[in-house]
Symmetry: D2
Subunit: 280 residues, 4 copies
């Protein structure tokens, strides 16, 4: 078991009263235990926690008033070590998939698996089913894409990326998810913090359902999977945007961090902190 | 309260052992009570009922063996009369939407609301918020599309349809859903049976979330909303296909019916019925 | 030099006065000499020959009146033998391309080469430039696509096909053209007749500009390139549709043939022939 | 007749030997007479003039060597006054269109008119044919789009813009061209200089073929059509990029101007000028 110190600080200039939906807090689930968590909003705003769905995503909702708005989050997360003997992980048969997993075979906004059946089967259909086949999908994605910040935007889909061959972490995940689903392997998007990600930022990776459970994968090879802290899980990036704003607000600055040693973080200084929910 | 008699009969020629996921049974929820339901499979196959998610979709899963396969379903459904005073139904504020409703603002595979913000606001942004604005979306959809069987396929999206201006029921629903979401109105797809639909078939329509609850709409004007029986609800048609097959099977024949008087239906004759689950 | 006997017979049911633009006659150019050509229209309609552009496409235009309309074409075409020593054919440098060739580097409706630069360079950029690299593009196209009549339609593009991995002759040509252009090799679409094509139909293939001239290629491997008779050349299939109709007419029947021996063709019997232009 | 003083100055930092194809010189045709033209390249490079196609586009090709590269162009252009009595300009019948005009009915890379037939006929099909119908297309385009620099990119098409409802001059032209073609009105893209365009830049507009000749239109309303100087004409923007580079070069600075009085332009000072072609 390891402990990861994660957090972020988001600065906005709010122009009109604006609803914020924040997807920045570590998920509480089997894989990870969240301790000493706090979220602070300055100036003070009432904060509503929204537990959404059975996947454990915890969102925070608030209404920001015109003027500067600072949101900061920090937590210590104990990760359960996850030892996988990849050789013994097979693919689940369709007829034995748990019902709640079936929707992760459906195509979604950024993962048009319904258009890629032949593509996926041609590239990976001849491989031995199992964990190693998802690894092959990750390797293919890594080898055929070039990681290029700015080359894609919020409406870019897996099909777009398969043609243009560039993208960022969310695009890598969308491509791999689409190819998995197209072969009958349930797959879903995970947003999270990642230790040693350079430059520090929110990260996007994915899970594939094999042998009765979900396994974490990352086609970007940008950071070790063992240092990933889940924030939210969904069908694709559309479900787990770190901040959704309804109204008018400009992002001024953003810091994200994830460390495997206590950073004695100075970024959340007391005078920066107005109020807020704290699970500490 | 009215009683609707619904059902379908699906004939397949199964070529290799094939998993079927069937989405043909009436939903059990606040709106409708299901009575005298039976599902029959010939030749006999064990049938697994999958309750999926909090939306009440009930799916059936079975593995068909090579040879002919007949699946038939029938039920009596009591519909709760739903009286709406449209004038008093307002739109919910984003900050007060129940958390479980938020995902129905996200774009989905066939409803690219993330690309249509300006389009929707230009066409409908100046209208009074509320039930009547969703009606305006339905009217616009009805008036700008031509109902043309065969003009769209399984990968056709709302954006495709907005350009080509033709489609079938699922396309009408996808367009209306996309425009609603693009304006901040949660919307979701509903598959169902529909009394007086000509020609008889499964139908697709949608729900919009207004004033704290979901309201049913249909932009096609093909059948009265008061005679709709819900089968399943999802983000778009990808979530509620009436039959998903993994394997190899050909559809040979399909009948679907929905009547508001007891049809003494002769189509499900006793010798046609092999076995199966029955809630009668 | 070989002689090919080509022709077609098109039957329409004209509903309202309809303009037809026909692209069915063999091109007269360096590669091929057209003899004993005749085009017949029944019932009689005045026929206008449109010589379009510097590429030698000859189109026929007529206005069909309501009722049955029969259009038939036949010609003998002498093909100049085209011996290529592929080993010695290099790619032309951009700075030395003849100006009139430059437009065939531009993307076109069905050949979105502007989106495929990285894709093309990744797959073929490391290969030796020259004739063999275009052959590699053809081989890749042949190996990654499955020839599937009905899998694509009139609006399908090269990018669509690269994802879905199925298509027909025009799609194979569009993919290969797009990949060539994306690497800086001018490429254009050619419609034509093809000896031994099964089933008999109009064919679509392409030319690439190498070493100062255009070379013929076909990624489908459906018929020998040496038996191709050019009808028209353009940026993609949009430029060389065999029949464009403005008005309302239904296609009733269509026959196309190309033989390397005189078929004593009985399909153009005298009583079938109303009038028309004849170059015989 | 009026005289317009046009020109541009392009600064590049060339990294590897790079072929440039420049589309910056005023077209010489019926509409405009070019006088006192000069193009200068510093440091000196041999310059090849490429006359492409029957449309009068004059391109310049050169190979830039590593280091700074400056290209400047200036000319005086006498515009023939073009008086149109819009009320008497009808649409040409398809059967009487000159053959060389027919290709401008075909869809092109950024103008997918083949997907917009129903859209165009629904919006404009009921209007009186003629000049005023093209004006209606321009008005619709102006009213439904918002001019937003940066909202589109080099691969954006008319269909993209019809959905997202934002764009720049080239997008406005692509939308209007597509809608015209979809109704059977030949239309083509024109790149040019425009007096009083703010901020000064190359401009994109279009021509529609009516009543036997081409008429100029601009859906952006950004500058008076009477002050447009044509540079090049093509199917869409793909054909008339002002600079195409094969190699590696960065654009450092760009100035474009068009004035209806002699600016005594100081930007082309003698020491800035290395060599070059001059038609003066």
């Amino acid at each position: 078991m390891s402990t990861i110190y994660v957090g972020c600080q988001l600065q906005y200039n709010v122009l009109t009263p604006t609803s914020f939906l924040l997807n920045i807090s570590a998920t509480m689930n089997f894989h990870q235990t969240v301790r000493n968590e706090r979220i602070d909003v300055a100036p003070f705003q009432p904060l509503e926690q929204c537990q959404i769905g059975p996947l454990g995503n915890r969102l925070f909702r608030l209404v920001g008033q015109p003027g500067p708005l600072s949101i900061s989050y920090q937590a210590e997360v104990d990760l359960r070590a996850d030892e996988v003997d990849a050789n013994n992980v097979c693919e689940s048969k369709y007829s034995s998939l748990p019902p709640e997993v079936l929707i992760f075979l459906n195509p979604s906004r950024y993962c048009e698996s319904d258009k890629l059946g032949r593509f996926a089967m041609e590239e990976f259909g001849w491989l031995l089913p199992g964990y190693s086949r998802v690894t092959a999908v990750c390797n293919w994605t890594f080898e055929h894409l070039t990681y290029t910040p700015g080359s894609t935007g919020p409406t870019t889909t897996a099909c777009d990326v398969l043609l243009q061959r560039t993208g960022v972490c969310r695009d890598y995940a969308h491509v791999a998810i689409s190819l998995c689903r197209a072969m009958g392997i349930p797959a879903r998007y995970v947003a999270g913090y990642a230790v040693n990600l350079q430059p520090p930022d929110f990260h996007g990776f994915f899970e594939a359902f094999l042998d009765g459970r979900w396994f974490l994968f990352d086609a970007t090879r940008l950071a070790p999977v063992g240092g990933f802290v889940r924030i939210g899980t969904g069908r694709d990036a559309a479900d787990v945007a770190f901040a959704t704003m309804i109204g008018s607000a400009e992002s001024v600055e953003m810091h994200v961090w994830a460390n495997d040693s206590n950073p004695q973080d100075a970024r959340l200084s007391p005078d920066n902190v107005g109020s807020g929910l704290s699970s500490a």
